[in-house]
Chain length 134, copies 2
């Protein structure tokens, strides 16, 4: 008799593009991107560092985030298993920079930031569009 094999699959997809902006410039940056992309800027309750730009990008959530850092963009990858997705990306060469609540902040080969976060989108959208990883 062969031993049982436990197969753990998880899913992920790119959820959002974050426009990370030095705090003092976050408001004018949000106003610019809102007008530039024809998107309504909407504050996020309980999280004043975020301004959502509704319908700014096709297929992706766009958010201006006030940060204590130089201007940068980063991608949020949503997943039904943050630990497994983080391990997958570390095995591909990313390095973990920090952890913020449930978000794991990674730096990719080449120097760009990405965050691994729990599923944020509607579960139907997520399952229809996510990639399944073995």
């Amino acid at each position: 008799m062969q031993g049982d094999t436990v197969r753990c699959m998880h899913h992920s997809r790119v959820y959002a593009l974050l426009i990370d902006t030095p705090e003092a410039e976050a408001a004018p940056a949000a106003a610019f991107w809102s007008a530039a992309l024809g998107a309504t800027a909407r504050p996020v309750s309980q999280e004043p560092q975020f301004t959502r730009l509704d319908q700014a990008l096709p297929g992706l959530v766009a958010v201006v985030q006030a940060v204590d850092d130089a201007p940068r963009f980063h991608l949020d990858i949503e997943t039904d298993d943050v630990t497994a997705e983080t391990a997958r990306l570390l095995a591909l060469g990313a390095v973990q920079v920090s952890q913020w609540l449930e978000c794991r902040v990674l730096r990719a080969p080449g120097g760009h930031l990405l965050c691994v976060i729990p599923v944020h989108s509607d579960s139907g959208v997520f399952l229809a569009q996510a990639t399944r990883w073995p």
Copy 2:
């Protein structure tokens, strides 16, 4: 008799997210993002600085670009009138940094880069998805 009014309208939409990477790290960065996002990496003929990541992002073209600069992302905005679109974005507070072929490189309030480029996508896709600006 009232004077004739000349109304010039143009259209634009976000076309691509560029993952700008220091030249020495561009190949490993393309390999990472290809595997991370489950996308096929494809060189662009005649333009060796670009590696397309097919189907990496929903609704946006994703490209790794080798650059002589720090790691950064930028957005490409395609338009049927580069001059008018550039003028619109400058009026919103962007500053022109440089010009590369037909691409105008701008810096947005908050410090992020974007490029205004001629229409690159299929004209049907462009007209269906672009915003019309007065």
